[in-house]
């Protein structure tokens, strides 16, 4: 009904000197909660503003439902937006702010508006503050007014620009799950911008990672998490970020390519770490990279910390041990690389202790050290 299709959209500022969004293609299905994730300044807000009609695209087309909306004014796009800086109206009370969209639509009676406002305010715990003006509210409360104002109009498309960024951890946790439930119940198509990757993983039906105005990977959140398409995505998504170990397939000690027929052992290729010959098994598919140097991408939770040398484990020294409550984060220096490993909550080790890290072989991803792109087959 209200899917969003974006084709080759581009936006530059300052007469083309700053490229904010660079040929983005994106399809968001009807009723989908789609999360846009990316570092500050990568163009998330600009993309959202183009969908809302607040910024004209230099190029490309935007469709909402079956309508092309590229040049339509915002009010004709049947959407609502939560602004990154809230943009609540200072001259109106909380109640009038939340009612604003409903009033403008003009198809609801006074009692109906009152009821919808009450529901929306209830949803974001603002029930007691309806008579206040924004100047009398904290930043987090103003942000909730902005969320309620957008939810109240029950739009076909809801654009949210970091709507929970100013809430404390507890409220954020609560609203995150409430929001997910509500928009799924209503069948609203949502594009949700955040740079909090936990929020992204927990909310998204599908997500996209942006970098410098481009979408570098899109997919279901766990797929993106499990198979980062590049070292950038792996390093950006996840806490701690994915570790990247320089390895050589089958012990090519000297850098640079070797002839492909240089013997990979018959019992399967191995990833060699450093000159001491520590290694772990690589999948058969990597045989084609025999003799080349690669990056092995391993998530912190996909490694065991062992206190003795073992087959398939790589030597290192403990730098720091940080208890996180549910887990313990151990930082290990292996050769020249700092590796972050998540292990059991009770783990302790003094700095400098020798340990061995054993990756789960099927969880290791392989990346080209030059381009940073994931390698799957030769």
């Amino acid at each position: 009904m209200a899917d969003i299709v974006i084709r080759a959209v581009r936006k530059t500022f300052d007469r083309g000197r700053v490229t904010a969004v660079d040929s983005v293609d994106l399809t968001v299905a009807d009723g989908e909660l789609f999360v846009l994730l990316g570092p500050s300044g990568c163009g998330k807000t600009t993309l959202l503003r183009m969908i809302a009609g607040l910024e004209a695209a230099d190029r490309g087309t935007i469709m909402i439902g079956d309508r092309e909306v590229t040049t339509l004014p915002p009010r004709k796009r049947d959407l609502a937006m939560v602004f990154q800086n809230y943009a609540v109206f200072p001259h109106l009370t909380v109640e009038q702010n939340i009612a604003f969209g409903l009033r403008m639509k003009g198809d609801a009676g006074a009692t109906e508006i009152k009821e919808k406002v009450r529901q929306a305010a209830e949803l974001v715990d603002l029930g007691g503050l309806l008579g206040r003006r924004p100047a009398q509210l904290s930043g987090g409360q103003q942000q909730r007014v902005a969320v309620a104002r957008a939810l109240a109009v029950s739009p076909a498309v809801l654009l949210m620009d970091e709507p929970l960024s100013n809430l404390d951890a507890l409220l954020r946790l609560k609203f995150r799950s409430d929001l997910k439930r509500i928009v799924h119940e209503l069948g609203t198509t949502v594009i949700y911008v955040t740079h909090d990757q936990v929020e992204a993983l927990s909310l998204a039906d599908r997500m996209a990672v942006m970098r410098e105005g481009r979408i570098v990977q899109a997919g279901p959140p766990l797929e993106v998490y499990d198979h980062p398409a590049s070292t950038f995505v792996g390093g950006f998504l996840g806490s701690p970020p994915m570790n990247f170990l320089p390895v050589a397939i089958d012990g090519a000690v000297s850098p640079g390519p070797r002839s492909p027929d240089a013997a990979c052992p018959d019992d399967g290729p191995r990833a060699m770490v450093g000159p001491r010959g520590d290694s772990f098994p690589a999948p058969e598919a990597m045989r084609g990279w025999c003799g080349r140097e690669l990056l092995a991408g391993i998530r912190g939770e996909n490694m065991d910390v062992l206190s003795e040398r073992a087959p398939g484990a790589v030597a290192g020294k403990v730098l720091v041990v940080e208890p996180l409550g549910a887990q313990t984060l151990v930082t290990v220096a292996s050769e020249d690389t700092e590796v972050k490993v998540l292990t059991a909550p009770g783990y302790t080790a003094p700095p400098g202790r020798d340990v061995w890290l054993r990756p789960a072989p099927d969880k290791v991803r392989w990346y080209d050290p030059d381009s940073g792109a994931e390698l799957t087959s030769p």
Binding site: L54, P73, A80, M81, A87, V88, F89, H91, R149
Partner: protein
């Protein structure tokens, strides 16, 4: 500490320099007529409406005052109608030549209107509007417009553009967003700009004298009658022309001071 003392002393002297004549003017305008010729002056004389009533009852004054009010109202309305949209454009859009435009607006005020007196009169005669309130109001609009543009642009810059954008997302057209969100937030400042135009027109004497003959505004009328009128008349006239302006400027000073600071 020393500097603060100096600063406040200076400010007090400056205020006294302006306010003392104003005070003399006020007691002159509101005492019995004979007291004006009395020397030394009583600093706290007994007050009376006599002088003011004498002035307001004089031949020609009520109609001139009426004309002044009409001209000022037309001027304020016209310069608001033209100046607020221009101020809005300066506040919201970045267009080529924006800064040059701003400077041009200010620099029109550097142009000596005296030079224009003959062409102005000629134009007014040609258009058949000589000696009407319309001719004076037209000229006053030209004089006040730069201030209205600059004041309203600084007032509108202070209203965040996101608020207007939010209004548009929630169902407003551009004009509706302006009317429902920007206008209520900017109205005190915009009213100040309009009031400023009102008072500039009310006080303006030069163009009013050049463009009228039989039907002058109050300042033009008073200027004509000045040499042949008694002292109480002058006091009352001066008071009526100066003090309302002075009080009004006091209340809107923050909008006018804001003009220099706006980008």
């Amino acid at each position: 500490m020393r500097r603060a003392v100096l600063r406040y002393t200076g400010a007090a002297l400056l205020a006294a320099w302006v306010l003392f004549p104003m005070y003399l003017l006020t007691i002159g305008a509101f005492s019995v007529q004979s007291a004006i010729y009395h020397y030394p002056r009583d600093i706290l004389p007994s007050l009376s409406w006599g002088t003011m009533r004498f002035f307001l009852d004089s031949q020609g004054v009520p109609t001139a005052l009426g004309r002044s009010v009409i001209v000022a109202a037309i001027t304020a309305a016209a310069s608001a109608a033209l100046g607020i949209p221009a101020g809005y454009a300066l506040a919201r859009y970045r267009f080529r030549g924006r800064d040059a435009y701003r400077v041009t607006i200010v620099s029109t005020r550097a142009f000596p209107v005296v030079v224009l007196s003959i062409p102005l009169a000629v134009f007014a005669l040609q258009w058949g509007s000589y000696d009407t309130v319309w001719a004076v109001a037209f000229m006053h609009t030209a004089l006040t417009l730069p201030f209205v543009v600059l004041i309203s642009s600084s007032v509108l810059t202070a209203v965040p553009a996101d608020l207007e954008e939010a209004a548009q997302v929630f169902g407003c057209s551009r004009p509706a967003a302006f009317a429902r969100v920007t206008l209520p937030l900017a109205i005190p400042g915009l009213a100040a700009a309009g009031g400023f135009a009102l008072l500039m027109s009310y006080n303006e004497v030069f163009a009013a004298s050049v463009l009228t003959l039989e039907r002058p505004t109050l300042p033009a009328f008073v200027l004509n009658a000045l040499t042949s009128s008694p002292e109480p008349y002058k006091y009352a006239a001066a008071w009526l022309l100066m003090v309302p302006t002075f009080v009004f400027i006091f209340f809107i000073r923050r909008y006018i001071l804001g003009v220099g600071r706006a980008r």
